[in-house]
């Protein structure tokens, strides 16, 4: 099976273990990913909050490249990229005027529909739950996981049209399919502060503290994510949260693809489980 792949900037740097673990899982499952040629940054929050057309055009430029390459289905593992690509598609579907503007700005037109999938959709709907289940070698027995969706995977629901915007279940289902336990908790779609990590760090620390408190009291031993922003904010800033609030959180924040990889029998190093700020030692020990 071959699909288009839009890694986005993070998967080549701060979220390299997300890219590594996704590649390892795909190799194991014989899924071929073709990178969108010469892809550019989706623009993230700074673009769409600076100029509306800039936010759409940067994302559209990637859909254009994908369509020229003949890609019909593109996986966007980064929740922020996924959200921007879906937003561009939604906006263009609702405005011919905007389509004309994008043709002018980018000098091209998307000739056929390029479908965009997030990581959970991709493995659930495209690869298939039964196929995945059949490939499990080491079930995640005894792992208590808080599935953290954040904002951009599920909201705005009219744009992404994926799962429930307040109480999504797809990641929880995946964890259970992998043999683990997903805890019930109340912060699964709370915001981590997103791109405020650098300019407004205090906001991110406060929101992170709330998320960890909730996960801990629900009995979770780790948090699973599908977004590089959420991962960076919770993993890289966890010691700052502990310092500021005199807490003692030691909660690994792992990508869903890393947990999939462990269940598929891939080695922790190949999944980048040694590149986290908060040690994943306890988790890795079991595999």
């Amino acid at each position: 099976m071959a699909y288009g792949y839009y890694p986005g900037c993070s998967l080549h740097s701060t979220a390299k273990e997300y890219g590594m673990s996704l590649m390892a899982v795909c190799r194991k499952l014989s899924i071929e990913l073709n990178e969108v040629e010469d892809w550019n940054c989706c623009g993230a929050t700074p673009a769409h909050t600076t100029k509306e057309e800039l936010g759409i055009a940067l994302a559209y430029s990637n859909l254009l490249n994908a369509s020229r390459q003949g890609l019909e289905e593109v996986l966007a593992p980064c929740a922020a990229c996924y959200n921007r690509l879906k937003t561009a598609k939604y906006a263009l579907n609702h405005s011919e005027l905007l389509q004309k503007r994008m043709d002018e700005i980018t000098g091209g037109k998307v000739e056929h529909e390029v479908k965009v999938f997030n990581i959970l959709e991709f493995f659930r709907d495209i690869y298939g739950q039964d196929n995945l289940k059949a490939a499990i070698l080491k079930p995640l027995a005894g792992l208590n996981v808080a599935c953290y969706y954040g904002c951009l995977l599920v909201r705005p629901s009219k744009v992404v049209n994926f799962d429930d915007p307040e109480d999504p279940q797809s990641m929880d289902e995946l964890i259970r399919l992998l043999g683990g336990t997903s805890v019930n908790w109340s912060c699964k779609t709370e915001c981590c502060g997103g791109s405020h990590a650098i300019p407004e760090t205090d906001i991110v620390l406060e929101l992170g503290k709330r998320i960890f408190s909730s996960a801990q009291s629900a009995g979770a031993k780790m948090i699973a994510v599908a977004c590089p922003l959420c991962q960076a904010n919770l993993d890289m800033r966890q010691h700052q949260i502990n310092e500021k609030y005199k807490t003692d959180f030691k909660m690994p924040v792992v990508y869903i693809t890393q947990l999939m990889g462990l269940a598929l029998g891939i080695s922790p190093v190949e999944l980048g489980l040694n590149s986290h700020f908060v040690s994943t030692g306890e988790l890795v020990k079991q595999f």
């Binding site: 509306e52 759409i56 503007r101 705005p156 779609t189 502060g193 791109s195 650098i198």
Partner: protein
């Protein structure tokens, strides 16, 4: 805050409506957006209050409010609005309008971050995180902010020291040059129906 009110229709509300295509007057101040706002404790005007200020033609107060800049664009407000107002989009519209009218951002850190981020994308086609962070720190006059994270990230291979540019940089240049502040909207979509 003392407001100067008149009995005229809010020209500012009409402006926001025509720029965003959203109906500002649909808001009846239920407060659901503010109740769920994750950055509520860090702002002076709640989203509910900001929308009321728009309805009351308080353009200057709104364009100088910190709320649209501290909005994390999580869209919880938009999702929960009983009148289906995309509140997060209103925040975005206010920010873009302020920028178009050269109103100085009341949250200089967020403005510095956006500027550093977009400069990086403009010159490389992709975000160069290391360069962007240094550029932010210089703009923000906080040269050592997060400096302790750098060495650990380097050691873990999570920080590239050189940018990786795309091949066709012309297309990015063109996008930055040609993009307007707002997308075009048909005259009728912005008009209120009340």
């Amino acid at each position: 805050m003392q407001l100067k009110l008149d009995n005229n229709v809010s020209q500012f509300a009409e402006e926001i409506e025509s720029l965003s295509g959203l109906k500002v007057y649909d808001c009846y101040q239920c407060g659901k957006c503010s109740a769920g706002c994750p950055v509520g404790q860090f702002t002076e005007e709640s989203p509910t209050r900001l929308i009321r200020l728009i309805q009351l033609n308080q353009k200057e107060a709104v364009l100088n409010s910190r709320t649209p800049y501290l909005c994390a664009t999580c869209s919880t407000c938009s999702e929960r609005c009983p009148m289906n107002i995309d509140v997060a989009k209103i925040m975005e519209t206010v920010r873009i309008l302020a920028s178009r009218e050269h109103v100085k951002s009341p949250v200089k850190e967020v403005a510095a971050f956006s500027g550093a981020f977009l400069d990086s994308v403009k010159s490389n086609g992709r975000l160069f995180e290391f360069g962007m962070t240094i550029s932010f720190n210089l703009r923000n006059l906080t040269p050592l902010k997060d400096a302790m994270l750098g060495p650990v990230m380097l050691q873990k291979g999570k920080l590239a020291l050189w940018p990786r540019s795309i091949k066709n940089k012309e297309r990015i240049k063109r996008i930055f040059e040609k993009s307007s502040y707002f997308e075009p909207r048909a005259e009728s979509t912005g008009k209120k129906e009340h």
